[in-house]
Each structure stands twice: as structure tokens, then as C-alpha cells.
Symmetry: C2
Subunit: 342 residues, 2 copies
DNA sequence: TATCAAAATACAATCGATTGTATTTTGATA
DNA sequence: TATCAAAATACAATCGATTGTATTTTGATA
């Protein structure tokens, strides 16, 4: 209840020794005799001493803190990624400051400033839908603070990142639809300033090309990929003069919105239309029909990204090496796309 | 690229004024002339000055940082709560350090120590399944650092907390099953050292009593409420010499596990057995049959808890007042429990 | 222009820990 | 017991910002 924090100086005074020795003893330095260490440790425990990391960090100019910026914590993929980040960081003795951009560039900029003021040792970032380039990361570059993109990244300059091969995964997803006898395949796409959605679109297009299916501009419907966009997109799609029988969605959320609306209007899946999503949200295995999707482990991406970042922080020589790590994905085939014909 | 951080001393030297004036100018103190402020601000911007919050916080012994401890970030309820916490904290100028106990008391203790060392201004905590009391929060009490429980709390001493009325919600859930003509009602319960599960069990029991349905010990099956527990629990339940036709689950996750196994063994819901869960996970509206459940807004609980905590931090007079805020819940009726008879 | 209160700025200590260097202590050896 | 290297400890500066007090500057007034 007393307001006075116990400091190394208090311990030093009580024991009649110098605070530098107390500091070294508490950090288990070989420069302090074991007998003295014991004495100091005992007194520290007795007084309930708790090091002030602010002072320590200031002196060492090292905070053992990582900044994390995600669009939205409550999205399952990001929550998993954060879980992986926190666990890995904790294991290595790092704390984690979590911030959400809520898809706003302006908020992302403010967050960067806060993280700079807090002198984080490194930053993990998955950019907002509004972010077009990495100009706002200038402060990090200037101060030589390492940062690593994960999942959503910028392609406007070379940076370290942990991503999946969106092109390849989208290609495989679309190819799967074709193998399931889909002949007219629509694509619900995301904001094209984000690399990941651009690449998913390219993968879709490439698969059509490989199988000589004509690409139709109108069959690509862009949105923010929210659940309610699913219904809107399906309405647009049904109004087109095509008999669409395959649908590749750039994420599961919009796919689930689509499935629910298609059920309402009595269109049969997979017979009338086969559907593939992207991300393997928890819901996707539970919805009926269960959604075929690309499995992308947030936990693994978070873990790998954190290890990469901590490696950059610890090894000055790795600081300026830009590395891209591609985390494996796989297609999970479920009822939404598996036709009897097979 | 230069290693030298710009400090107020650098700015002071360049402009030939004292660093205290620079500090006051940057903090917009009335003690500095506007002309001088302009000069200093311009130079600060030019040099890309960024205040060192470590030094500032050390001097002010105030960090504008909140510690948050949850069992697991990737659980939807906690992810939503964190989203609410982060958003509210950010609005009030606080940072948030997020930690997960992974249901381990030992980890929870270590986290508390880290948060103490980082001199957080306050702590929000939802305890692990292993935590039986609040002994490990002693360091917080000793240093007079305010903390607020949310959702999972201790009842071993008086504390501030933001919770729902688990008893009342469980009562309503069970009552609903009874109104839907369930006569033999099982309960999948959670660890009884957690108040929330204890109260959900009590609510279940009280509802049976009110409607004169005999309470049977064997119909209460406890577990950690994971998805795979759902299957295990159902197997146990089916082996009992009762024809169970109603099931109240202490959370949605175990309910979903149960539903999936019941579908597999061809038991009809809600006709053979009506089911109610607890928490309203995202999955629950999507599974078939859609799960009737208690809606509990993580976002709201997180927001309310953060406001309560910041209020304690800011108003010394509120620091020692223990307050319990009860956030409203509601029963969402879906197909898993709605019988034709109605 | 001298005076003086108010305004503006400078000085210096401080937050608590760390760390390079200086000094003291220890204990083996002659 | 005197000597001396090694071991142990003390001294003092430092990280960068804040803040109470002292000093200087400003500008209105006589």
C-alpha cells in the first residue's frame, strides 16, 4: 500500500553496498561474489523488489517489445496469427503490443507513430485495405527498426514478408472447380490494391487459360469480402447472361454469405454451382454444404513471421536482408464442390 | 540510417536554447512563447524527432499501457473482447499489451510479473481454467495497480468485474428447453472452480427445480468444453439409462461438437433432443441445425471493462471501489431447440 | 531612461537501472 | 609478514525526458 517502489538503491542502502553491485547481482553477473548475490537476492525477495523495465530499457535502448498491426483482431485468421505471434514472442522473452488498423490507413499511420514512441524492437504488420504502399513505414526504415509483413503485404518495394503463394493456391482452387466439371466459373474478388487479392485473381485467370475456358470480365465481382457482400455478389452474378456453375471466392467469409443466399433461393450446391473459398475459417467445415477451401494456418504464419523478425532483431547482419518465406497451403475438398460425377 | 536518435537536447543545442524549453514547447506548455514554440516545432519536424516514451514514462511514472490476460486469443469470444479493449484503449490514448495464459496458472503468474516490470497502469484479466483464487494478483494489490476481471473471474475476494449473469442466462436457457417440451435435460458443464461454470450449473438446476423436474447427478457431464469433448460427452450421455431429450451446454464449442456427433449417429435435433449452447460463437448461426444460444457480446464486455479500468486509473478516488457491472445477454432461439409442437 | 512585475527561459535534480573504469579487498606466494 | 595479481566492489556517467526553482528578458509605466 505504500507508494514507494523498491529500487536497487533501496536494497543497496539497506545492505550497505553500491547499487551497481545490486544491479549486477540481480542480473547474475559473474563479477559479483556468490555470497553477495545470495544476500542481495534474499533481500530483494523479502522487499518484493520488481525491476523497472522502463529504466532498464531506456538505459539499454532495447525494449523486448514487438508491435503488431492487424486490420481486425476478431477475424479468425488474424486472431490465430496473433496467438502464434504472442506465443513465439513470449517464448523468446518479448512482449507484444497489439493494434488494429480497422482497415484505415490513417489509423495505421498513427499506430506506427505510437510504436516508434514506445521504441519497439520490431514490427509485424498486415496492412489495411486502404494501404497502397509502404510510405508510412518510413520512420521505421529511418530508425533501422526491422519489420516483417505477414499475409497482406505491399509490393511497392522490397521487404521481408511471410506469405502464402496466393497465385498457386487460387490456381489450384480454380483447377479443382474445373475438374469437378464446372465450365462457367465466377470469381468474387477483393480490393485490387492488395497483393493477395491481385494474385488470387491472377491464379483464377491462369487456371481458366490453361483449360481454355474463356475469361469474362463480368464474372469477376469485386467487393470488401464481407458476409453481406456474398448476397449482393450472388444477385449480380445471377443477373448476368451466363449459366454460372462454378464459383471461386477470394475468402471464406464472402463464400459463406453466398452459400446462405444460394440456399435461400434454392440453388443447389454443388450440383447447380460448385463453390470454393479461401482461408479455412472455423465456420467453413461446419456450414452445409461444408465449404471446400484453401487451408491457410494463421498460427503458422504468425509463428514463422515472429521468428523471422526476432532473427532480424538479434542478428544485425540479417537486418537488411529481405527475405520472403512462403508458408504452404493446401486445398481441403468438402461437399460444396464435390460432385457426384466423380 | 544513422544510429543517433534525435533528442530534445539535440534540438536545444541546434537552436541554442535549453532542453527544458524544448520539452515544454513540444508539450505545448503555456510557459513557452509562441514564437519559440513555432521555431522548435519546425525544427523537430525537420529532424524527424520522435519522443522517447520510455524516458517520458520513467520520469512521469505513468505508461499509458494496459495489460490484458486472456486464456486464448484465438477463441472468438476473447478475440472480440480484445477488439473492444484495444479500440477503447486506443481512443483514450492507451496501449495494450496482450498475453495469453493458455489456461495455465503458472503462465498467468509469469505474465503478471512481466506486466509489473513493465509498469502497466492497469490490468484486464479473464482467468485460466487452472486458476482457483487471486493470490497471484498480490503484486498488483501491493503496488495499488488497478485491475478488472471480465467474463471469467474469481469469487474468493471482492474485486471489480464485468460479467454477465450466468445464473440467470442458464436459467433462461434451461427454461426454454422445458417450454419446448424437454422432460429429461442433460447439462454439459465446465470446470467448477470457475465461477461462470458454477453459476451456469446452478441456473440449470434452479430451472429444473422450478418446473419440478427431478435433478439427476449423472446428467451433468463435466469437461474442458473443447469441441472433441462434445463427442465424448454425448457417448457418456447415451450410455445412461435415461431417454435424454434436452441438452444445455455450458458453451457453444462443446455444443457444436455434440451436434456433429449426434448427426453422425442419426439422432434428430430438435425432435429427439433439443439443444441450447452458450456464447453465440460465429459458427453457431451457420451450423445445421442452427444452435439456440445465449448471446454474449465480447465486444461490449471488453469495452465496458476497459472504461471501468481507465476510470479507476484516472480517478484515484474510484481506485478502491469495487464495482460489478453486469452486461445484458439474450437468448437467441434457433432451430436446434425449436420444436414443431409450438 | 530607471523601475519592476510578468513573461520567458535556463539551471539542475530526478525517474531507476546499467556499465566502463577506478579503487579496494582477498588470498596465494615468497 | 610484504607483495601482487585476481577478484570483488565502488564510483560516476549515462539513457532522454520532465519539472520545481532560479535567473534573465521584456515591455509597460513613471
Amino acid at each position: 500500500m505504500d507508494n514507494t517502489e523498491i529500487t536497487i538503491h533501496d536494497i543497496a542502502e539497506i545492505l550497505g553496498i553500491n547499487s551497481s553491485t545490486v544491479s549486477r547481482a540481480l542480473n547474475n553477473s559473474p563479477r559479483v561474489a556468490q555470497k553477495t548475490k545470495d544476500k542481495i537476492l534474499e533481500k530483494a525477495t523479502e522487499l518484493g523488489y520488481q525491476r523497472n523495465d522502463l529504466a532498464s530499457n531506456l538505459r539499454k535502448s532495447k525494449t523486448f517489445t514487438l508491435g503488431v498491426i492487424v486490420p481486425r483482431i476478431s477475424r479468425h485468421f488474424f486472431a490465430s496469427a496473433i496467438a502464434g505471434i504472442e506465443e513465439t514472442a513470449f517464448k523468446e522473452g518479448y512482449n507484444v503490443i497489439i493494434c488494429q488498423s480497422l482497415e484505415s490507413l490513417e489509423r495505421e499511420q498513427r499506430i506506427i507513430n505510437t510504436l516508434l514512441a514506445n521504441r519497439v524492437d520490431g514490427v509485424l504488420i498486415s496492412i489495411s485495405m486502404e494501404t497502397k504502399n509502404d510510405d508510412h513505414l518510413f520512420g521505421l526504415k529511418q530508425r533501422n527498426i526491422p519489420y516483417v509483413f505477414f499475409d497482406r503485404h505491399c509490393n511497392t518495394s522490397i521487404n521481408s514478408k511471410v506469405v502464402i503463394d496466393d497465385f498457386e493456391a487460387a490456381f489450384r482452387a480454380t483447377e479443382h472447380l474445373i475438374q469437378q466439371k464446372s465450365t462457367v466459373i465466377a470469381h468474387f474478388s477483393g480490393p485490387q490494391n492488395l497483393e493477395i487479392y491481385k494474385n488470387r485473381f491472377k491464379g483464377y485467370k491462369a487456371a481458366l487459360e490453361k483449360y481454355s475456358i474463356p475469361f469474362k470480365e463480368e464474372l469477376v465481382i469485386s467487393s470488401s469480402l464481407m458476409e453481406h457482400d456474398g448476397e449482393e455478389n450472388v444477385k449480380k452474378m445471377l443477373s448476368l447472361p451466363y449459366k454460372v456453375n462454378g464459383l471461386f471466392c477470394a475468402n471464406d467469409v464472402v463464400a459463406i454469405g453466398a452459400i446462405q443466399y444460394l440456399k435461400k433461393v434454392q440453388i443447389k450446391m454443388p450440383d447447380d454451382i460448385a463453390i470454393v473459398g479461401f482461408s479455412n475459417e472455423t465456420i467453413s467445415s461446419v456450414i452445409e454444404p461444408a465449404l471446400t477451401t484453401i487451408n491457410q494456418s494463421g498460427l503458422e504464419i504468425g509463428t514463422v513471421a515472429t521468428n523471422l523478425l526476432i532473427n532480424k532483431i538479434s542478428n544485425a547482419s540479417n537486418k537488411n536482408i529481405d527475405e520472403t518465406i512462403i508458408v504452404k497451403t493446401n486445398l481441403i475438398e468438402r461437399k460444396s464442390s464435390l460432385r457426384e460425377v466423380n
